[in-house]
């Protein structure tokens, strides 16, 4: 056997651990983020805590836990932090319906190597295995509206209307340092 073939065999062994390019076919929109690269891949939707610890409730925790993407190509557990909406929203509402299923996702890998050895993911669109069309990963606000009907009926941005968030800001201020600190800062800042 030639040395070239031996080197090829070694590279095949190393393949799963090496950084791979998942940009082929991606139609992800750029957000200009740190270390951003488009990534489209197949993965199983999993409960991260279950994967890590073996504590596995039904339905991936029913929306109460962070969900992950167990990538088909290399078995890497990718952590999605964000869905495709520009409204401070995670990806659980979009991934939860596909718990335990294989899906194809398209989005962005994010993060600089000096800050994190692994990149994180923004899911922009999803399609279950065998389905022709992708759907946008934009279910958070609709899910929030169902859980908070009175706040949703009032209109406006969910993050300003959310009762829990409003309660904390009403008690501790926008800076979290108390209402008097807020008052002094706002008077000076604006």
């Amino acid at each position: 056997m030639s040395r070239a073939r031996f080197a090829l065999a070694l590279s095949l062994l190393a393949l799963p651990a090496a950084a791979q390019d998942f940009s082929a076919g991606s139609e992800a929109a750029s957000w200009g983020l740190l270390g951003e690269s488009p990534a489209r891949f197949s993965a199983e939707v999993v409960d991260v805590l279950c994967q890590i610890t073996g504590d596995c409730p039904p339905d991936c925790g029913g929306g109460a836990r962070q969900l992950g993407l167990l990538r088909t190509a290399d078995g890497v557990l990718v952590l999605p932090m964000k869905n495709g909406q520009p409204v401070f929203s995670g990806a659980v509402a979009d991934l939860a319906p596909f718990c335990g299923q294989t899906v194809e996702v398209d989005g962005l890998l994010v993060g600089e190597p000096e800050a994190t050895p692994a990149q994180f993911y923004m899911v922009q669109r999803i399609r279950p295995e065998g389905v022709a069309d992708f759907v946008p990963a934009d279910r958070f606000t609709a899910t929030w509206a169902v859980a908070n009907p009175e706040a949703a009926a009032a209109g406006g941005d969910w993050f300003r209307a959310d009762p829990a968030v409003r309660g904390f800001i009403a008690r501790e201020g926008y800076l979290g340092l108390g209402l008097e600190t807020d008052r002094v800062f706002i008077e000076d800042w604006f």
């Binding site: 065999a9 925790g61 926008y174």
Partner: protein, 155 residues
């Protein structure tokens, strides 16, 4: 011997590939971590600004929004390591979001189990043993981050 090894290697490679990669996960370790509870998306993505601007009091309102929005929270230790918090004193993170809102931007000490999987640090917090509240007064340098976090007062 080298010739035998090279002859076996392609077969070994194919066997390992067929079996699929083993997850890169270490056994958990019990650790105590002191640091700040942060909004991990804004921190790692840079979407709102540099690393120093998306922590502390400047970013507190946005940290509340992101925690309520289901974005993973993290504990950023003093050495810069960020631990993704998967459980906080028995609560699943999204089951009781108010638990996460209560500690947003706080400097705290947590005792728990540390797992590393595929390069990501995860922490199952079993007990918060100290909480100093918000001590990182970044608003003094950056103002609110993002700027619209605090609505401009009506004239």
């Amino acid at each position: 011997m080298f010739r035998n090894l090279t002859r076996l290697t392609p077969a070994l490679a194919l066997m390992l590939m067929a079996a699929g990669p083993a997850p890169a996960q270490d056994a958990p370790r019990r650790i105590e971590v002191t640091g700040e509870m942060i909004d991990t998306w804004c921190y790692f993505s840079g979407v709102m600004g540099g690393y120093d601007a998306v922590v502390g009091s400047a970013h507190h309102t946005c940290a509340l929004w992101c925690a309520a929005g289901g974005i993973p929270v993290g504990l950023r230790a003093d050495d810069g390591t960020v631990y993704m918090v998967l459980k906080l004193e028995g609560d699943d993170p999204l089951a009781e979001p108010e638990t996460l809102l209560t500690v947003a931007s706080d400097r705290l000490t947590a005792d728990g189990l540390h797992y590393v999987r595929d390069g990501v640090n995860y922490l199952v917090v079993e007990a918060v043993t100290a909480n100093d509240g918000i001590v990182n007064l970044t608003h003094e340098t950056f103002g609110p981050v993002p700027g619209f976090a605090i609505p401009e007062p009506a004239q």
